[in-house]
Amino acid sequence: MTDATDGADERIKSESVVTRLMKRPELGAISGVILVTIFFLITADRSMFTLSGIMNFMTPAAQLGILGIAAAMLMIGGEFDLSIGSMVAFAGLIFGVLAVNMGLPLILCIPLTLLAAAGMGAVNGTVVIRTGLPSFIVTLAFLFILRGASLVGLKWFTGGSTQLRGVRDAVEGDFLTPFFSGDAFPGLFSWLAERGIIDSFNSGAPKVPGIPVEILWFIVMALICTFVLLRTPAGNWIFATGGDDNAAANSGVPVKRVKIALFMLTACAAALVAIITVIDAGSTDARRGFMKEFEAIITAVIGGCLLTGGYGSAIGAFFGAIIFGMVTIGLTYTDFDQDWFQVFLGGMLLLAVVFNNVIRKRVTGER
């Protein structure tokens, strides 16, 4: 009698490390990044892949990615949040008002803004759970409500304008400002520029003064979320909730708490993007974050999340955001007629996802 336990099972073919890796949801997105990079290496101006060019497309990618990773977490948990984009505008308003009109220091403004956003997220989540309505329709309502509220609020606090300015002056000199705006590691970069390791302007200042902070936030967030998903009980609950919330609840997962926490996460991610962009731009207006909810979902889906929930990865959304950022900015570096921008964007998107799908199927031998 052979017992297969203590040896390899004869019913498993051996499997290479590459194959095992390719089975992870995010690996498809990585192959998409490679494809897009190759495409632009061939077609785009050389300056796209200089250090400054890379920072240039990574900045919007990072801002989108912070939203996209949160959206991916929520999507894995089986829900949508269409109010992210409006939340960026709304949180921007709150932050602006706290910083400019109330003149509070950042150490108060930022927690208060995040708190307000988290509160709204909790409202979203509670409504979804209480009514049993699809989150699509509930957060859609909040898309409109928050967008409208931002407009009304802005007009109220500025006395009629749709733009609230003076944020940069208000936060100047605050010890927290460097964490939320500008470039990190300026010292390192000017040192590198002095040595001639990176390009510098004639004035001697480095072309790239540092790493824009949003890129750091983006990376940190991708790492934390990946850790949470794969290595903590909470991650297990998120997958379970998204996979089948009924089965999860029956197995003792606190489904409601998980969902509400995820809605709070997306709202806070939106608030973080709002804080970063408002400080960076020095102003906020009623159209901030327009259509970002949409792009965040695209990012998550490119990154391998299933719309039906229960499957996906944060690191996939990370690469999804990079693909999206490269494609939207990259065309400007090429010689193609800019009228073709959208055709191109659509084509590249399709190509990237189809490509990563084909690769994955090849490697894993799925039908």
């Binding site: 017992d3 336990t5 903590t232 996979g243 029956n250 197995s251 606190p254 229960g310």
Partner: protein, 258 residues
Amino acid sequence: MSEPIIHMENIKKHFGNVIALNGVTFDVRPGECHCLLGDNGAGKSTFIKTMSGVHKPTAGEIFFEGRPMSFDSPRDAMEAGIATVFQDLAMIPLMSVTRNFFMGREPKKGGIIKRFDIDRANQITMEEMRRMGINLRAPDQAVGALSGGERQTVAIARAVYFGAKVLILDEPTSALGVRQTSNVLATIDRVRNQGIGVVFISHNVRHAMAVGDRFTVLNRGQTLGTAVKGEIDAAQLQDMMAGGQEMAQLEGSLGGTV
């Protein structure tokens, strides 16, 4: 005789205009295996779901260790020490076996930041599955790719592992092979001897007779009666389970019991 762990009194449950339970009384004592039997659609699953916190009864009372109790969620019931194998298994097909096994009660390690101890979880899963007679290829295989019986075994192994005071099994052996079935029956026996109360739902008279101490038969949402082991034989039990209706005549004999 010892005090019942759970006592359910005159439970009723309506779904919209459907009356699924129309007054069922039932209890489980420590160290006994109480079989719940009955025809298809009699209301067995609905009944055990009210016991494990999934449904709130429309009317009736639940006493847990003598105190009136109302579970707001399956999590509450679990924390009170009730583990259930649902008929639909409550498994997430996209997730790995280990993640399903520990879903909702993950073992943790680490200091300030509590991590999900995947290695230990994998090891426990493999071991518990082996005890049930299934050698998994790998604990990170998705449950969706398991065979029906393998999947059912995961659900049983999980419930047994976490069942502290009461273990509820809703047709646990329906998809199991002979070897796995005998393992499950042996497990029920072992668990019972540890003083845990077992509720066992089955359509197989022979399985029920093999491990049951008491037998309650439901019919069309109502209790037909409870019998104690030894007072009743297989044929009588089978008649009651069929709701008293006649059975089809088969050319080849089934030796009395199906």
